[in-house]
């Protein structure tokens, strides 16, 4: 039997009273793609940050090629052949690819020979793994997928034998994911070892040869991928079996309450991103918008919720025109009319991460009674309400005074959802409700959306997860290049059909 390239024994790490990693044992064999899967907050990223030298473990040992090593900083890890591609890229936007890669490893004060040598080496690397990157391109001109490749290339150039990727597909389009997987496979074929951190079961099944499952800071199982199934892994992750399909009642469709006529919207760069869109939503119905990211869904939701200006066309709520190119209601007025919005990007828009949880729970409703009266915030009411909804939505930890950034992604999403659903909106706009959210919370969030629909709300759901669209929606529209390219009742629709529409070929 081969000795593992990376071996972790009894790793423990705690942050205060929270133990993020408990007695973790892990063996990773050379030349494999090893998946580490678990819910958000299961401790995957912490574990890998320890391996990369960003954190120091409280106890335990790390061996590389059978030799025990002490990793005090990322530099130590790089020397030992470990590279990591973070969820958020660490690149200097206005530098070129080449400049970014040699950053910190220039080796000479005035660029000359060594730079030339680096360039040649990199070109060779690019060729070997089919990276297809222009080394002189500026990072800010590159798409997300290419930026990720630069990160990978950077690690390889610095001699990485073990490459750790933290949620690499979260920001990629399906095509980019395919490209990435191709690259990862060719890396494996060249003998590199890859550790893939993810919470997407499909990726694990697709790519890995071995998989380790984490739950609440513990390693709960190791298995060969071929010996397991999606369902089995999901059960291990959450500790119980999950329904990947949602139970929902037969639709009880009411009258049309939300209507969009010939809507066009421009983005910040003055490019038309929504083109002549028409849609109607009835009460008691979920209308799903499927589409690859960047085909106008973001701008559409922003226009409908009053954040973005309407270029032409109009929006009607209960037969009353609420927005057109000349005047539009701001989000606060729309909220008063019963329109709630769960934004796509909770960090950028949905929350203020430096605020306390209770401050975020009234965000956007803070000027309504009983939360404030003649401009003075009513702390007692706010605390009471916060305690109540945090319990109802099972937000953990249940402490309204905790700063929001200390909650996990799923719990942050629950904070937003509880806030937006609490007022029983008539129309609910939802963008990517479960992005970066763990399976347990996904189930919960889906159930809440179905409950809202059964109570008679009209829901517009935009998601890049086809599964989510298929399991929740009553009717599905597909957006491509800012236009609606297809509309289907959600009966006997296949992902294949939708996929073709999403790609703009059908």
């Amino acid at each position: 039997m081969v000795s593992p390239i990376l071996e972790l024994t009894n790793i423990n790490k705690s942050f205060g009273h929270v133990q993020a990693n408990k007695n973790i044992n892990l063996k990773i064999n050379k030349g494999t793609i090893h998946g580490i899967i678990g819910e958000n907050g299961a401790g995957k990223s912490t574990l890998m940050s320890i391996v990369f030298g960003l954190y120091q473990a409280n106890s335990g040992s790390i061996k590389i090629n059978g030799k025990e090593i002490n990793l005090r900083s990322p530099r130590d890890s790089i020397i030992n052949g470990i590279g990591m591609v973070h969820q958020h890229f660490m690149l200097v936007e206005n530098f070129t690819v080449l400049e970014n890669i040699i950053l910190g490893f220039e080796g000479e004060t005035v660029f000359g020979e060594k730079l030339q040598k680096a360039k040649e080496d990199l070109e060779k690397l690019c060729q070997t793994y089919n990276f297809n990157i222009d080394l002189d391109a500026t990072i800010s001109d590159l798409s997300v997928g290419f930026r990720q490749r630069v990160e990978i290339l950077k690690s390889l150039y610095r001699g990485a034998e073990i490459l750790i990727l933290d949620e690499p597909t979260g920001v990629l389009t399906p095509q980019e994911v395919d490209e990435l997987f191709k690259i990862l496979r060719s890396l494996k074929d060249e003998g590199k070892t890859i550790v893939l951190i993810t919470h997407k079961l499909i990726e694990i099944m697709d790519l890995t040869s071995e998989v380790s499952v984490m739950r609440q800071g513990e390693m709960v199982g190791h298995t060969k991928t071929e010996d397991t199934s999606k369902e089995q892994l999901a059960e291990m992750m959450v500790g119980r079996s999950v329904l990947l399909r949602v139970d929902k009642k037969e639709i009880r469709k009411g009258e049309t309450i939300f209507k969009v006529n010939n809507l066009s919207v421009k983005d910040d760069l003055d490019i038309t991103r929504v083109k002549d869109v028409n849609l109607e939503i009835c009460s008691g119905e979920i209308l799903g918008i499927a589409g690859v990211t960047g085909n106008g869904q973001t701008e559409l939701l922003e226009a409908l919720s009053g954040i973005r200006k309407v270029e032409s066309g109009s929006i009607e709520l209960f037969g009353e025109k609420i927005s057109d190119q000349n005047n539009f209601l701001n989000p606060r007025m729309l909220k008063e009319k019963g329109l709630a919005h769960v934004p796509e990007d909770r960090q950028r828009m949905g929350l203020i991460s430096d605020f306390k949880a209770h401050e975020n729970l009234i965000f956007g409703y803070h000027d309504q009674e009983p939360y404030s009266k003649s401009a003075i915030l009513n702390n007692k009411e706010i605390t009471e309400y916060s305690n109540k909804v945090m319990q109802e939505y099972d937000v953990r930890p249940n402490s309204p005074n905790l700063i929001t950034s200390n909650f996990s992604g799923g719990n942050q999403q629950k904070i937003i959802l509880s806030r937006e659903l609490n007022e029983n909106p008539k129309v609910l706009l939802v963008g990517q409700p479960t992005r970066g959210v763990d399976i347990g919370a996904i189930e919960f969030i889906h159930q809440r959306l179905i409950d809202m629909r059964d109570k008679g709300a009209a829901i517009l759901l935009a998601s890049v997860e086809l599964d989510e669209i298929l399991s929740l929606s009553d009717r599905i529209i597909v957006m491509f290049d800012g236009k609606i390219v297809g509309e289907k009742e959600n009966k006997n629709v296949t992902d294949r059909e939708l996929g073709l529409l999403m790609a703009g070929v059908a």
Binding site: R348, G350, F363, L377
Partner: protein, 373 residues
Amino acid sequence: MSNIVVDKSKVPWWVSNVIVPLVNLTLALLVSGLFVFIAGENPIEAVKLIIYGSFGYIQGFAYTLYYTTNFIFTGLAFAVAFHCRLFNIGGEGQAYIGGLGVFLVAINLSFLPVPIVWLLAIFGAFLFGAAWAYIPAYLQSKRGSHVVITTIMFNFIASSLMIFLLVDVIRDTNQMAPHTVKLPEEIWLPSFEAFSGILGIKIRYSPLNLTFLLAIASLFFVWFLVWKTKWGYEMRAVGHNTQAAIYAGISPHKNIIIAMCISGGLAGLLGVNEILGVSHKIQAGFPAGYGFTGIAVALMGRNHPIGILPAAFLFGILYQGGSEVTFEMPNITRYMFVAVQGLIILFSGALENLFRPQIESFFVRRLNREVNA
């Protein structure tokens, strides 16, 4: 040593808000002591003089509190804008124009009952200061001109404008110096001398006056505004995350203007202390750097009224004690104390994070040990 990772949620509040500022302050004073030593004086004697000068006798203490009053206003001014993530460097100019507001109201309405004149003069100070801050605020919110740049420029404009007024328009024409006539004595704010008489202490003169209470009230006002009202909530929301504020229907434009106007208004209140309380006339250059020092006060006080009060008091001690030192120690000039202030700003502002990680991780480890023991 440079990348110590400290889990912020584990750091007790008193470590980051009390211990760290105190350590920084001590360092600044140590370096200052070195300067004093190099200048050929005994640092320990200098400290004794500072303490004597600012606490040792009642008149000195009154001076300390008078300086504190000014620093509270300018410190609060900076802090309010900062909660909306605006760096209002224009406290100096806003205070200057605020003084004009006090004077114009007081001189033109002096026929009204005295307390009414006071109230209107305070209002005038706030309004003029706010108006001077409104223009940079408007330019920031509508045109994106950075307030740091525009408020600095507005300090110069305020200074030139006031010189023009003091020379050509509102000068006391019986003399040549650039200052106005004195306000009628009935409407002067009662000074500490009047009170001290009641308490049975006799002092000759003190600039401390009723405005000190206005400063204390302002501390409460700012605390209440920022943390207890929806306006403060909205200002902080815009400051922390403008995108999210827009999503929630909060107007960044409106809140930038509100925050800056309140900030400018608070700076303007300095004029009440200086003109209604002390000199009773506008003199050229009366804000004398209080506006700039207010930035340091706010930074040291972590932009919270509870921190600003001791920070303002500390600078009051330095101002008053410092003048005592320069009086007694010929080798130490007034400029040495400007340098000391500079060092405090350097250590508690610019180098604020120099020792923070070490101190915080030290306490976190100690506390952990106690818990485990």
